[in-house]
């Protein structure tokens, strides 16, 4: 069995299943913080999917996009936590 086939039929569906489970938590999450942390983990799994995809297609260029996505995920979580903090301050 080729390593590319293993990634295509073994690894990638499991990562997709993980994203699906996280999306359920993103939909039903009781508070906004639950949704933010689910979104953060979804982007982290997305980085893994991009890396696996670059292995399958033998295209090393996709790793740059994974790096940029990691940056954007951190900035997004940071700004969401700042927004939640401001909202908690206003509620007091």
């Amino acid at each position: 069995m080729n390593i590319t086939d293993f990634f295509l039929f073994g690894i990638l569906p499991l990562l997709g299943l993980a994203v699906l489970l996280l999306f359920i938590r993103f939909l039903i999450g009781p508070s906004l913080a639950d949704r933010v942390i689910a979104l953060d983990l979804m982007i982290t799994v997305g980085i893994g999917i991009i890396v696996v995809y670059s292995i399958i297609n033998d295209q090393p260029t996709f790793m740059d996009i994974a790096m940029i996505l990691a940056l954007i995920a951190f900035l997004g979580t940071l700004s969401f936590s700042y927004y939640l903090k401001q909202k908690a301050r206003e509620d007091e």
Binding site: I3, R25, V45, G48, P60, F74, L84, A88
Partner: protein, 134 residues
């Protein structure tokens, strides 16, 4: 041999990510979910990145994979800590079976700052001096 190592590392990473996603769905509390997401997610993606570095076996690709891994390992605890702190400030409830809450009554809700031990001592001193003056 190299293929075997790549398959082993990526399978382990995928299983960790899957367990993290399952924990996100099953955990009863926001704080437990944050814990599961941070540890499982960064470990799983890190193993997949190491597998990619071994697969490409190129200096540039290894550097890129290690840079992404380093960045994830730096930023995941920071964002988890920020979100957990903000969630505690906005009074998201703990699980009812939580055995202890060390931060109970130690946050100044108006300033959104942690009330340290030093600050309590200062307040006591102020109270003492006021009592002495009166």
């Amino acid at each position: 041999m190299s293929d075997f190592i790549i398959a082993l590392l990526s399978t382990l990473g995928t299983l960790f990510i899957l367990l993290a996603a399952l924990g996100m769905l099953r955990m009863p509390d926001f704080y437990l979910r944050v814990s599961v997401a941070t540890k499982g997610g960064s470990l799983g993606v890190g193993l997949i990145l190491i597998a990619a570095a071994i697969y490409f076996s190129d200096f540039g690709m290894t550097t890129r994979a290690l840079a992404i891994l380093f960045f994830i390992l730096i930023t995941a605890p920071v964002s988890a800590h920020l979100l957990g702190r903000v969630a505690y400030l906005s009074k998201i409830e703990l699980w009812e079976k939580t055995s202890r809450d060390d931060l109970r009554g130690r946050y100044e809700r108006e300033k959104l700052e942690l009330k340290g031990k030093k600050r309590e001592d200062e307040e006591d001193e102020e109270e003492n001096s006021e009592n002495g003056q009166s």
